[in-house]
């Protein structure tokens, strides 16, 4: 992403050179420091420059400000003084952060212009600036930065002549050879931003994008058009191997296949599990890989035979030079395969359980190219090119809609906070107004103390609400063990005021335990369930509107008495875009995301059913999470009871 070069030209010897350059590259940034100690051709000056360079090398991970402050304190700097440019390039965002003090030339050059970077007056050790100015400048692909000490005369012409095209190394050489002063040390550093700057969009924000892309599977009779299967399943090789142990005993009869390595995992292409799929997918492969008809027919025949005669699945792999089909070894079947393709194109895996058949490709294929990967995905999905284009569009739309759903839940929480704050704000207003009347009656010290204490309690409560809100939207980077009930209570607590104003009672009961997972994602699921129950209850005229949350160690049920979900739609409510709410009120993504979080991220289950409770008919959502092995969970009677 960044190429750089630097050059030093001492006035006399390297030991007496007051100029120094230090460069350190890391994964996402690059630190570079160009400095010039006052004087030249003096061993003391050279030693100080070396001390400054060593300090930078030893403290390269500090921020530029801390580094600069450290350089100002190096012993000896007060004797000679120094000028310095401390810069750090953020190679992800293409940003230059820098501090520049003294007579240092720093230029930013693009394909069409050269401009001076701002710098600050002063000399470190003599007149160090009291207030350090830090600068940030955005760069684009092809832009460059050139920094030199005052031993280099004006060199803009070098950059305007060939700046955008010449490599950094050549520019450095030209600047020093053409513009370095003969009476001073000279140093120059040039960097160029290369490679593509990734234009990020709001969708790149990790807060707003689902951690796992939503995928679509093809519709079939028993499946909805969309499912939650994230990737096509690979063949379970272990299962296949287990099935074939008994067959191996017949190995010694007839010809024995050569032992060859199994195709690499990265070459996995697809699974053929039916004759229709085998015919269609091998034809697609034939066209893409430009197989000869003979190759196609032999691979197709073997695959069809294996599927129909042996009743097994066949795995197809494609490397850059070969196409493979693999399936569990069967001696009799091996003899037939031998006849079809010849012994030199058949082998057995080192463990003797998998038969491997291959054909060489006429032209090598780049299996990591986007075109191939898209082709692979299309074949795996079993859809036409036209439908695949539509599928890709749907994928993009899914990302946007999921983002909208997240934003909607943020809006939901902001609404909850607004409710939560209304009452304490009223409290504060009332107390402040009362103070005036109390003053007329005679205000005592006790009154003042109570006024302060009461208001601080109210303010603490409001502050806690904000903290809960922040925790709710933090990004879970890793799983953690958390108390099920406490986590749910923190969400419900935020919604309490809103629910009360809607006349809905919320109750929690049962024994709580520890579970492991992504806490804030789990909170979003609870928010969804409680908000859905609230919306359903708001549309009813029940007298006793209620939401009951019951806990078990690793299980939770959320039950409402809003009448339940219509039987014709209950099977579909976890599908994306499915909503029973009025147009514009629901994105239809809330329960879909909840299911993704519970099922894919936390390896649990979420189910729904209609129930009849003493409070009336309603819907009951159950979340079951994997049992977490903690001392508290092992002894259920130790699991603390929460309020009934």
């Amino acid at each position: 992403m960044v190429s750089h070069s630097f050059k030093l030209k001492p006035f006399t010897s390297k030991k007496g050179c007051g100029d120094f350059v230090s460069v350190h590259e890391r994964e996402n940034d690059m630190l570079f420091v160009v400095g010039d100690v006052g004087g030249h051709g003096n061993i003391e000056v050279g030693a100080l420059a070396e001390d400054l360079r060593c300090y930078v090398d030893a403290n390269q991970n500090l921020s530029i400000k801390m580094l600069f402050k450290g350089l100002c304190k190096i012993k000896g700097i007060e004797k000679f003084g120094a000028t310095v440019f401390v810069g750090r390039i953020d190679t992800n965002q293409f940003l230059l952060h820098y501090i520049s003090v003294g007579d240092i030339k720093a230029l930013q050059f693009t394909s069409s212009s050269v401009k001076k970077l701002k710098t600050q007056q002063g000399v470190l050790g003599f007149t160090s600036p009291e207030s350090i100015k830090e600068f940030v400048v955005s760069l684009n692909q092809g832009d460059g930065i050139a920094v030199s000490s005052d031993g280099v005369a004006s060199f803009e012409k070098v950059l305007t002549a060939s700046g955008s095209k010449a490599p950094a190394e050549k520019l450095c050489e030209q600047i020093i050879s053409q513009h370095a002063s003969k009476d001073d040390d000279a140093s120059c550093f040039v960097l160029k931003m290369e490679g593509g700057k990734q234009k990020q969009t709001i969708l790149d924000n990790p807060l707003l994008v689902p951690q796992q892309p939503i995928t679509q599977s093809t519709a079939s009779e028993n499946k909805p058009a969309r499912s939650f299967a994230p990737v096509p399943q690979r063949v379970n090789v272990q299962k296949q191997e287990a099935q074939t142990h008994m067959v191996l005993s017949a190995n010694n009869h007839g010809a024995v296949p050569d032992v060859v390595a199994l195709p690499d995992k990265d070459t996995f292409f697809c699974v053929l599990d039916s004759q229709i799929a085998a015919r269609k997918k091998i034809m697609e492969l034939k066209n893409y890989l430009q197989l000869h008809d003979k190759q196609r027919i032999s691979m197709k025949s073997i695959a069809l035979e294996a599927i129909s005669e042996l009743g097994i699945e066949v795995t197809v792999s494609v490397s850059s030079t070969k196409m493979y089909i693999t399936f569990p070894f069967n001696n009799a079947f091996y003899q037939s395969v031998n006849l079809v393709v010849g012994r030199e194109q058949v082998g057995i895996s080192p463990c003797g359980t998998t038969l491997i058949v291959w054909v060489a490709l006429a032209q090598s294929v780049d299996i990591s190219s986007t075109v191939f990967l898209e082709f692979k995905e299309r074949v795996q999905l079993g859809i036409s090119e036209e439908n695949y284009a539509q599928y890709q569009q749907d994928q993009k739309r899914d990302v946007v809609l999921t983002q909208q759903a997240k934003l909607a839940s943020m809006g939901e929480m902001i609404g909850a906070i607004a409710h939560q704050w209304r009452q304490p704000l009223n409290e504060l207003a009332l107390r402040i107004q009362t103070l005036k009347y109390k003053l007329k009656k005679g205000l005592t010290e006790d009154d003042i103390n109570r006024f302060i204490k009461d208001n601080l309690v109210t303010i603490d409560f409001m502050s806690q609400t904000v903290d809960d809100f922040r925790n709710f939207f933090r990004i879970d980077k890793s799983t953690e063990v958390f108390d099920l009930a406490k986590t749910v209570e923190s969400v419900v607590g935020l919604q309490q005021a809103q629910l009360q104003s809607n006349g809905i009672e919320i109750g929690m009961s049962g024994a709580t335990g520890d579970v492991e997972g992504f806490r804030s994602e789990f909170q979003q699921v609870i928010l969804n369930l409680v908000s859905n129950a609230r919306d359903a209850l708001n549309g009813k005229e029940n007298k006793d509107k209620s939401i009951d949350i019951a806990f078990d160690i690793n299980k939770i049920t959320v039950t409402d008495n809003a009448g339940g979900i219509a039987p014709e739609v209950i099977e579909r409510i976890f599908e994306p875009y499915f909503t029973t709410k009025a147009h514009g009120e629901g994105t239809g993504m809330g329960l879909y995301m909840s299911k993704m979080i519970i099922q894919d991220h936390m390896k649990g289950e979420i189910t729904v059913k209609n129930v009849t409770t003493p409070k009336g008919k309603g819907a009951e959502f159950t979340i079951a999470l994997p049992f977490y092995d903690s001392p508290r969970n092992k002894q259920p009677n130790m699991a603390s009871e929460i309020r009934a």
């Binding site: 530029i64 801390m66 965002q93 207030s131 924000n205 990004i475």
Partner: protein, 127 residues
């Protein structure tokens, strides 16, 4: 070049600014995406002034194909290291810490100068 300066000291100033910015921008910019991005950048910069700077000014200038947004405050500069300020999720004010990197993403050119005397941010948006 047409310029308009807004003084920012309280939330109400930000509301006034945001009410005006889209209207003002649409007079120069036809692309609705660019209008929205300019309004969003202005909003982030204005709230940053309130959060960190106490008071300051936002100036919007339109010149042919560019909108220049300049935000100047008289705060104490960046409290965290300047490199950290651009990493998403970092915030010294307790907010989500997404503002600065969003502004950089939406800008075609971004410049910042900060010291304990205040901060000046200049964003250029091409349209």
């Amino acid at each position: 070049m047409q310029s308009k300066r807004y003084h920012i000291q309280a939330n109400t100033d930000v509301h006034v600014l945001l009410n005006n910015v889209s209207f003002l921008t649409r007079q120069h910019v036809k692309d609705e995406v660019a209008v929205t991005e300019i309004a969003t950048m202005t909003s982030e910069l204005a709230y940053n002034i309130i959060k960190y700077g106490c008071s300051g000014n936002i100036t919007l200038s339109y010149s042919g194909t560019q909108c220049i947004i300049e935000a100047v405050d008289s705060g104490k500069g960046m409290q965290m290291s300047i490199e950290q300020a651009f990493v998403e999720g970092n915030s010294s004010s307790g907010s989500l810490g997404l503002g600065m990197s969003s502004i950089v993403r939406m800008s075609d050119e971004f410049n910042l100068e900060t010291s304990d005397g205040g901060t000046c941010i200049t964003c250029i948006k091409e349209y």
